[in-house]
């Protein structure tokens, strides 16, 4: 996937200003930065949920263009999980997962049920297939949302602050699933505020501020020796415990 000169603004407010980067197959990119820097908007643009004002986003050479006809087939290549729980409340867990594979990809029901059950099993929710979203905890819902996206066999996954709305205790169970995916070689772009997790999972870290990528480095370099003063300040926010011990 290639993102070239992506520019996005809401009226006069420029949210993304000429952002370019390439995602290679199997790469895990973590995007960090202060709130309002455009991280989430960037993911939404990549999935063409927002119109963009300039630049080009391509996956396997096909352009992802807001409003174009072939969006459905391109979006199938990109799984996305949102911050707030986006499960369909009127459908059971299993039906949530089955909907797109059956209606969009027209796959056989038995086969998808088998796959869905295995995936649910793998994220520790084997017994929840018949439950409804309202009966699940936040962490369980997010794991179901991940399984739902995976069942479409995406080539890459986008995670938009998937743990931001969770109780601290539930954050872990969701992050473990994402770590598992990373080990399995899934291409991912992850927006998160969990710095330790970012460091553990990332192949590359992008630091975004005011709609610009101001750092693009491997995690060790980024967390130990950030190039910019701004990134240092940002990382210091997460280090208050250590500085207290000194």
């Amino acid at each position: 996937m290639k993102i070239e000169h992506l520019t996005k603004s809401f009226e006069d407010n420029v949210v993304l200003d000429d952002v370019s980067f390439t995602v290679h197959k199997g790469e895990v990119i973590v995007v960090v930065g202060p709130s309002g820097c455009g991280k989430s908007t960037m993911l939404r643009c990549i999935n063409a949920l927002e119109p963009i004002q300039g630049g080009k986003i391509t996956i396997d050479g096909d352009e992802i263009l807001y409003g174009s006809k072939n969006l459905s087939s391109l979006r199938q290549k990109i799984g996305m999980v949102f911050q707030s729980y986006d499960l369909f409340p009127h459908l059971s867990v299993l039906d949530n997962i089955l909907l797109a594979p059956l209606k969009v990809q027209k796959r056989k029901k038995d086969e998808v049920i088998k796959e869905a059950t295995e995936l649910l099993e793998r994220v520790g929710l084997g017994d929840k297939a018949k439950s409804y979203p309202r009966q699940l905890s936040g962490g369980q819902k997010q794991r179901v949302a991940i399984v739902r996206a995976l069942c479409m066999h995406p080539e890459m996954m986008l995670f938009d602050e998937v743990t931001a709305a969770l109780d601290p205790e539930m954050v872990r169970e969701v992050l473990d699933v994402i770590l598992g995916l990373a080990k399995g070689g899934m291409t991912m772009i992850i927006v998160t505020h969990e710095m330790q997790f970012a460091r553990a999972v990332a192949d590359r870290v992008l630091f975004l501020e005011n709609g610009n990528i101001i750092e693009d480095a491997d995690p060790d370099t980024f967390f130990e020796n950030p190039k910019t003063e701004r990134a240092k300040q940002f990382l210091n926010i997460f280090n208050f415990e250590r500085s207290k011990e000194k």
Binding site: F82, L99, A100, Y132
Partner: protein, 219 residues
């Protein structure tokens, strides 16, 4: 109270009730279709159509059914469109009900969080599929209370059909009063027949509402 009179003219009321129910339900069925279409136009903010629908809703909701019926019944034939009383009743009810149904469905659609549409799209569903499998089922259950209220309201509004010489319940009662001066008996039968038609709808509606509330989605 003259029970013989009631007994004698019962079949007349039965026939009239059947007519009221037939025209009522035909009009309501059309109103539902119009309502769904208008609600979709408003929900997706479809350019030109949206204006037309808004104008229609304002006209339909802010004029009495009686005037709408007169317009259809007397004005349309003048410009060369002949209308039977039955067709006029159905059309009038559909014209009035369409806007009420549209508002009920629109508020249902707008109660659904935009993230539902977005996550459906991000799974690769087409907009129409997302609407059908994700948005509509949720929106319908939100709009059930308003929908039931509209159905009852529209069935009651059929009482003005007598003005365009449809032999409905109201017409029959007025006719009998005019002929025999049996006001009490005629009006009693009128009330009873309206209750027979409307009570089941009302009861069914509250059962439906309660079941949907129990299945309440929550997030």
């Amino acid at each position: 109270m003259n029970w013989d009179f009631i007994w004698k003219y019962l079949p007349l009321y039965e026939k009239a009730a059947l007519l009221t129910v037939k025209i009522g339900w035909a009009g309501i069925a059309l109103a539902i279709i119009i309502g769904i279409l208008c609600a979709i136009v408003l929900y997706f903010r479809i350019a030109v159509l949206r204006r037309i629908v808004s104008v229609y809703i304002e006209i339909s909701r802010n004029t009495p059914l009686l005037i709408q019926l007169f317009f259809i019944y007397y004005a349309l034939p003048k410009i060369g469109v002949p209308v039977s009383p039955e067709a006029c009743g159905v059309a009038g009810l559909a014209f009035l009900g369409g806007s009420y149904m549209a508002e009920a469905f629109r508020s249902g659609l707008e109660a659904i969080e935009p993230i539902q549409m977005e996550s459906a799209l991000s799974l690769g569903l087409e907009k129409s599929q997302a609407l059908r499998y994700v948005i509509m089922p949720q929106a319908v259950s939100v709009s059930v209370p308003a929908f039931v209220a509209n159905v009852i309201f529209l069935l009651k509004e059929t009482s003005v059909f007598s003005a365009i010489s449809l032999m409905d319940l109201m017409f029959t009662a007025k006719d009998l009063i005019g002929l025999y001066y049996k006001t009490t008996e005629s009006l009693l039968m009128l009330v009873v027949f309206y209750l027979i038609i409307l009570l089941p709808v009302s009861i069914l509606g509250s059962i439906l509402e309660r079941r949907l509330r129990h299945a309440g989605f929550g997030s």
